[in-house]
């Protein structure tokens, strides 16, 4: 039997795909860009959802991994463009799969370092420490002039994907959409696995997890690092979408927004981040047309969601979360 939630999930995914294709048919490139933004932000928040939704780790610094992914694309791409070697004489590259790999590995390294220190703490300490580490790398990016510092770094030609012309908006959208679906699939598999069970019990009751013999620390650290890797791949795509990367990708506003996407969509849902990203981008676009002060109303919507409608979009469309 197909549950109501999966019907809604499939409808949401198809709607995003259909919107981009319809925009292409109508020649409305701008709307393809909006759909691409939804897919990328959805993927970034899907990464965070692994730590936050499944693991209960409220990371308020995930923008740092998003930014690391962005800089991986920017730095590798700009060296490939200019032909100058990078540090240790390594060549740049404009190949997206290689960039994603580098982005994910760099984020994994940062995730281990940040995770080892911050996961030893919990609750509000964890929130503040992840925020502080993100801020540290944000200031580093601002003050390090080699790759544009505060002004950011432009990517003159969008990086390449084998067999696809990434400069065509719909092609690039399809890459991002595919990445989003792959990210959600990874989360679905993880959630159903032994690792996912262990992570879930650590979130629900850490003391109990230890009492049955599951050591919480390595489970949480693994979730945190995997989560960072997924978010970093989204960051690389985001840099390619804007053909620009700047420290603002690492700012704490970005970290806050990633959490907001999850909550708007509905916590603990596989498609929550995507639904949240869609709602967020639509609010930003539509309210932005109506009023300059759209952020005020975004705040209001968020506040009302948190106080009165914790289920988010999917809670509204698909009913309460069911556990087995």
């Amino acid at each position: 039997m197909i549950s109501r939630e999966w019907t809604v999930n499939a409808a949401l995914a198809l709607a995003l795909l259909a919107a981009a294709i319809a925009a292409e048919a109508a020649g409305q490139v701008f709307y393809i860009t909006l759909a691409t933004r939804i897919a990328i932000l959805g993927l970034a928040a899907t990464g965070l959802n692994l730590a936050l939704g499944l693991g209960g780790l409220v990371s308020f610094g995930h923008a740092v991994f998003f930014g690391i992914g962005g800089y991986a694309a920017g730095i590798l791409g700009s060296h490939a463009f200019s032909g100058d070697p990078m540090i240790f004489g390594l060549e740049g590259s404009n190949s997206m799969p290689l960039i994603w790999l580098v982005a994910a590995l760099a984020a994994a390294v940062a995730g281990v370092v940040i995770g080892v220190i911050s996961i030893r703490t919990s609750g509000v300490y964890f929130i503040m420490i992840t925020l502080a580490f993100a801020q540290m790398l944000y200031y580093f990016a601002i003050s390090w002039p080699a790759y544009g510092g505060e002004d950011g770094l432009s990517i003159f030609v969008r990086n390449a994907f084998p067999g696809v012309n990434t400069m065509k908006p719909l092609s690039f959208f399809l890459i991002c959409f595919g990445a989003l679906m792959a990210g959600i699939a990874i989360l679905a598999v993880l959630r159903g696995s032994r690792f996912g069970s262990a992570l879930d019990v650590v979130r629900q009751n850490e003391v109990r997890a230890a009492a049955v013999g599951i050591n919480p620390f390595p489970v949480k650290l693994t979730a945190f690092v995997l989560s960072a890797m997924i978010t970093a791949v989204a960051g690389a795509l985001y840099a390619d979408l804007n053909r620009f990367v700047s420290p603002s990708m690492m700012s704490w506003h970005m970290s806050g927004e990633l959490i907001v996407l999850i909550i708007l969509g509905g916590t603990g849902r596989l498609f929550g981040p995507m639904a949240g990203a869609a709602l967020f981008v639509l609010i930003e676009h539509n309210l932005g047309e109506l009023t300059e002060r759209w952020q005020f109303f975004l705040g209001l919507i968020l506040l009302v969601t948190v106080l009165f409608a914790r289920g988010g979009v999917l809670g509204f469309l698909a009913g309460k979360v069911r556990h087995g």
């Binding site: 030893r120 503040m128 420490i129 502080a132 200031y139 390090w144 806050g256 959490i259 952020q295 506040l303």
Partner: protein, 304 residues
């Protein structure tokens, strides 16, 4: 590098430290008593600065502006406590983070609505303009010295409030045991509003004092907020004493790091690289310090 310059930088560090303390004291008090993490604390700092700048430009008096900053921030604090914050005490930290993040968006955009996007300027009061000669021949702005003194006095006053007064006893009772203050016959709802407004007033006061040194603009509270988080994480969440010592530590280390690191590196590197690397490294210094402290004491230096 002269001794006079070093003393000046040290005083700048102290000045940053006492301002961070005013922010951190409210945050840590609110967390200690109500168990709430308040991201919108930086917005209250901004409200104080704007109120001071607006009233000072209307009346021509910085001092009236300062009073207005206390009143406006306390009032804004009390209003959001009653409307929003008190619904969050029983929620988890994630909800608290999101709701107060939403408040930041509303405060920032609302302030832009009222005051426009351009920064306001707040003049240093005429009685505190000019510089004071320090022992050793250095000149230091009188206003900054006054800020350090004001911050120090408030720290003393807060310590006295917590240890000597009836309100302080209730606050400490609330930190230790929420049921006990109910048993003492204290109206908890009112106590929480008062504590929140007190924290807000301290933040607003800090915003006004700093507003005269920098420009008064939307978003000015956010970098300070994050530094204040670093302070209370280092000091131990809930500890006023920890917040005070950690604030001075962070203020001095940050300021001296920015001043000294490029000089130190210049002894081993060419000047331009020393400036670049020193600048980047010093901007990360306090976070690295925080990581080190947490690696050994995960609950901060003075954890309750």
């Amino acid at each position: 590098m002269t001794a006079a310059l070093a003393i000046e930088q040290l005083l700048n560090g102290l000045q940053l430290g006492v301002m961070l303390f005013l922010m951190a004291a409210g945050l840590t008090l609110i967390f200690g008593v109500m168990g709430l993490i308040n991201l919108a604390h930086g917005s209250l700092y901004m409200v104080g600065a704007f109120a001071c700048a607006a009233v000072a430009s209307l009346t021509g008096s910085f001092w009236l502006g300062l009073i207005a900053s206390l009143a406006a921030a306390a009032a804004a604090g009390a209003i959001i406590e009653v409307l929003v914050i008190r619904r969050l005490y029983s929620r988890d930290h994630l909800d608290q983070v999101l709701a107060t993040f939403a408040l930041i968006l509303m405060f920032s955009e609302g302030t832009r609505w009222v005051f426009g996007s351009f920064p306001l300027y707040l003049n240093i009061p005429s009685s505190l303009q000019g510089a004071v000669s320090l022992p050793g021949g250095a000149q230091y702005p009188a206003y900054r010295l006054a800020v350090i003194a004001a911050g120090g006095l408030i720290a003393l006053g807060l310590a006295a409030l917590i240890t000597r007064t009836r309100l302080g006893i209730r606050i400490r009772a609330g930190e230790n045991d929420r049921e006990m203050i109910g048993a003492l016959g204290v109206d908890i709802r009112t106590l929480y509003t008062v504590v929140f407004a007190l924290g807000a007033a301290l933040a607003g006061f800090a915003g006004a004092l700093v507003g005269a040194l920098q420009s008064v603009q939307v978003g000015m509270g956010e970098p300070v907020l994050i530094l204040a988080f670093v302070v209370i994480v280092i000091g131990g969440i809930g500890s006023i004493k920890g917040a005070f010592l950690a604030a001075l530590l962070v203020g001095v280390v940050d300021t001296m790091g920015r001043f000294l690191l490029p000089h130190l590196l210049a002894t081993v590197l060419p000047p331009s690289e020393a400036g670049t690397i020193g600048g980047s490294a010093s901007s990360m210094l306090i976070y690295i310090m925080m990581a080190f402290i947490l690696a050994f004491r995960p609950r901060g230096l003075f954890a309750a």
